[in-house]
Symmetry: C3
């Protein structure tokens, strides 16, 4: 397949209730448009911070929509309604601890509260799921850090071949062994 | 509530048997006195390295004593009696991997054996639990690294508002969204 | 006991089928010869990427062969056949997150895809198990980073006393408390 779908899930009680605009979800979509030269389609959901709802939405975007990449925003802090990492872990077959480690390390250059983010990443079938923080500025910092590894990761799980605008972000693919 | 309690648990077979003095537990208490300008009360326990005892003590300090912060020392290494991280994980609803990552990174600047520390952190109800290493010098290095994020973390889990002496340690609270 | 055994497990469908030579397993053995001045024996296995086989081989090398250190190569990526970290976690009593964190951090200095490695480490009985990446160059970079902590870790789990060639790699043992 080379029909590329990117899932974007905003987990936010207030955004999903229409109390405020989902600028975080929009920021991810704008970043994807900046990054990718491959044609792609966004599959977007804005849902409340309910673990079961997040799990069902992740499963829908991975299994039914067949998104190669699913990016979440929101719900990674320590508060009682922050359950996105738990939902992610529940639906993934493999966890990818390096994503969360690197994102926290990058965010620590800006704010010491970066250690409060529990964001992680994992693999479900042929989809890579990545949790991002809630704030647009942090979203871009985190994506800039991890995205160079994303296209090759999707190659390895037999997803579509994704090409980026190298003047914006350079995908790294090791030479054939 | 604004009655601030800080739990300090020393997990050590030898200190709890009176074979040597618990200088690590004392070092944490001294550090808290250095850091905090809010009035607070220490709830202190010195117990053996038995997982069930550590779990029960954590639960007591979180649920019954209602400590906003519970700090442990000891039992984070690879030895057979080192079970503090397992006890912590067993009683927490949410794990906070960023604390352990940052503490190991800081300790690595001093000793390559910092990677042997399995220290972690997590949330139980309205309490933040943080594992620290056993040695007083490392305790202070680790607390200096993570404490700027602690008051805001406790805000997020709806604990008391904690103020610090900014000439010693500066609590970071992001501006209102 | 002071009979030192080091287990080396290559998890690779192709190497175990004889499709190509196991240069990764050889690289680990060569590195051990470079590092250690203590006499030691290598116990080597080259097996397919099957979780149960990896688990059984880890158990054999820890429990029956009594290797103080078991090092694996291969199977740490995101692909469907990459299951070495899961096998490691399944057989270990204690996980040592600091090893994977440091190895990814070191590899990140060379390639942004280092975050795709899920390598970890853990303790089973009196054996330390460490997952390494698949490529010989990365194997050496990772071992150079973590090995200074390995002899002291093995002391703490009551394994044999391991000495290194300090002109190649310096084992760190903290002074007696």
């Amino acid at each position: 397949m080379n029909n590329i779908k990117v899932g974007v899930i905003t987990a936010s009680d207030r955004a999903s209730a229409g109390i405020y605009e989902d600028i975080s979800g929009m920021a991810i979509q704008d970043t994807m448009k900046d990054y990718l030269t491959s044609e792609f389609e966004i599959v977007y959901r804005c849902i409340p911070d309910v673990q079961q709802t997040i799990e069902e939405t992740l499963i829908e975007l991975c299994d039914k929509e067949q998104c190669a990449l699913v990016v979440t925003t929101g719900g990674t802090g320590p508060a009682v309604r922050d359950v996105t990492p738990e939902a992610t872990e529940a639906v993934c077959e493999k966890m990818m601890p390096g994503f969360g480690e690197l994102m926290r390390q990058v965010s620590l250059q800006y704010v010491p509260t970066a250690i409060l983010s529990r964001q992680t990443a994992g693999i479900r079938g042929q989809s890579l799921i990545i949790n991002l923080p809630g704030k647009p500025k942090s979203i871009r910092e985190c994506l800039d850090a991890v995205f160079p590894a994303v296209p090759y990761c999707i190659d390895l799980i037999e997803g579509p071949y994704i090409e980026t605008d190298e003047t914006v972000i350079k995908a790294f693919r090791p030479k054939a062994k």
